[in-house]
Symmetry: C2
Subunit: 364 residues, 2 copies
């Protein structure tokens, strides 16, 4: 009797999938690193693969470059009926599977959009995929059976399956994930110039947010950017070109700052306008955007419990706080707490907070 | 008897300063827009200027381009002893004051780093400057008396005075404020490409944070960028050049993705590494940086009160939560709450949350 699922690769993703399916699926686990396999098994992610057992679905969760080779090798040993993987870049794996002469009809690639800063079986958690998109990337010859097998797996892990062609997936993540990473790193890198020494004293939430992901692991990102270089390169070039045009326009304005109109000023306005339009496409909550939310600001002493009290007040008034941002005030033991609430709740929130004695300072 | 302070310009900044000083200083207010002046006076920001009264300090809070002209005109009428303004770009105002032949020795420019999305006297709030830097920008001939007058004003408004040369200030804000704004707008603008339609479904916190300030008011930013074009232009050009080099490196990798080493890969690694280094310079709390904080994640139903309960638990355990991020899970009524706590508190926070029955999912 074949196993339900064979997870090849006992890293963060493979082990987390095993943990998510614990108790509901018969999972076997393998890893060329026997110690990793043993630790994943010890954590309850599955039973150890015996080296010959076949499975209905073989999920290859190894680094992207080895993915196609592993699928090809195990297929030749007849160790699975349907096949998937979790590569963060999809089309190169599909092409390599075909180039190796493997049976592509039983392979449906997948990409769970979930991760952590840490790696390895110890970092695995069963709810890693909870509510996250899991992109299913069938190739042109992939069977419906293979797609269904991966869809069920994604759903059982708590993820939201999204079907995309492999190339469509690779272009999408280049735009919404890889380009912002590159931009954040490039902006943060500018801070290394000597002039930044005193300048960072003047920094605020804008710089903090714009550069946050620049703190990500460079080793991991080198691999991602290399893997999707084909789609990231033109986006980065487009960004560089937009910025070069803007730099030229600003240079023209610097030489004639009094010109109220003209082409350079229009170029600056145009970039800012397009940026605003683009930003409105970014969901801040499923189906909702910036303009649906209003910020309520409360000034508080910077000590334990203040945030809890504010949120308790909001909760007691029936207000759902969508997000919270805490700004610590430099040089003093106070902070400003910004609560993001839906615009229909803003009046209720303000009234309740003020009535409870909180220092509601501004609403914008 | 001259008034303590004459605020020229009853907009957001001028009116907020008046409100901050209410009860502690004798403030007169003027605005060429009589209706705005009347509304600011009605809000308690000061008494109306009688058209001839002089003041110890005249603070000109009008748009940057009119600032020097207003100082020059009022100086010629002998209406003040010391002078300041609030221009977001300082050196051009200083030069214009000199070019107009006004007395520069009594002028100390200033820039309170505070603002709101809304403008006008109605948007004014007394605590707008609370804990924010207020940069004092004396020129080479500015008297100590003028600097002291502005420093006292900044302190009375609750701000933290920082002294910088005007050019140093302009370069600093170009780097820590204007460049991130341009970058965020440029990244967000890329989302307007047709390919973004399906792609934003895959977006996560990275895109959200990197593009947040792209939602800022374009009218306001056109003026800021034009005013500081001289210093923003070379930074934007440097960013464009870094990105152009990266685009070329990625293009080379796309053509030979298997190359494990070589110059293109080194360029990609270098940008990511420099980005990480730059990010470490960005204060996330006065004197503290990313590496001092650890994120504790809790999975919760997406309904009122959950956030309050979590923070209450943390507070009861004596844990100061530095910041909170709420991620709503698409397609389901759940969310992940990320609490940023100092690394010394992480064990306490996790234990307390788990003991109280919260679903502590991952810590990274």
């Amino acid at each position: 009797v074949p196993a339900d699922l064979h997870i090849v690769g006992a890293g963060l993703i493979g082990t987390s999938i095993g943990l998510a399916l614990r108790g509901s699926r018969d999972v076997v686990l393998s890893d060329t690193d026997v110690a990793a396999q043993t630790r994943a098994v010890a954590r309850g992610a599955g039973r150890p693969w015996d080296g010959s057992e076949s499975a209905h679905l073989v999920l290859v969760a190894v680094p992207p470059r080895r993915t196609a080779l592993v699928i090809d090798r195990l297929q030749r040993l007849n160790l699975g009926l349907t096949w998937s993987h979790v590569a963060s870049v999809q089309d190169p794996v599909r092409l390599e599977v075909e180039a190796l002469g493997a049976d592509a009809t039983t392979v449906c690639g997948g990409h769970p959009l979930a991760g952590r800063e840490r790696s390895g079986p110890e970092a695995a958690v069963p709810d890693l995929f909870e509510g996250r998109p899991w992109v299913l990337c069938p190739g042109p010859t992939t069977s419906a059976e293979a797609v269904v097998a991966v869809r069920e797996l994604a759903e059982q892990c708590g993820a939201e399956p999204v079907v995309m062609e492999p190339l469509q997936h690779d272009r999408a993540v280049a735009l919404v994930s890889h380009l912002p990473q590159v931009a954040a790193s490039a902006v943060a890198a500018q801070l290394l110039a000597a002039s930044a020494t005193g300048a960072v004293r003047l920094s605020g939430p804008g710089l903090q947010d714009t550069t946050r992901v620049a703190a990500s692991d460079p080793e991991l990102w080198v691999d991602v950017l290399r893997g999707n270089a084909q789609h990231v390169a033109p986006l980065v070039r487009g960004l560089a070109e937009d910025l070069a045009v803007l730099a030229e326009a600003l240079q023209a304005l610097a030489q004639d700052a009094t010109s109220a109109e003209g082409r350079p000023l229009e170029l600056v306005k145009d970039l800012l306008r397009r940026g605003g339009e683009g930003r409105r496409l970014v969901p801040v909550k499923a189906g909702a955007h910036d303009e649906d939310f209003v910020t309520v600001q409360v000034s508080v002493p910077d000590r334990p419990g203040q945030l809890a009290g504010i949120l308790l007040t909001a909760a007691q008034a029936g207000v759902n706080v969508e997000d919270v941002h805490v700004e610590h005030l430099r040089g003093r033991p106070r902070g400003v707490v910004r609560l993001l609430v839906h615009r229909v709740s803003v009046g209720t929130a303000q009234a309740a907070l003020a009535a409870a004695g909180w220092d509601v300072v501004t609403t914008s």
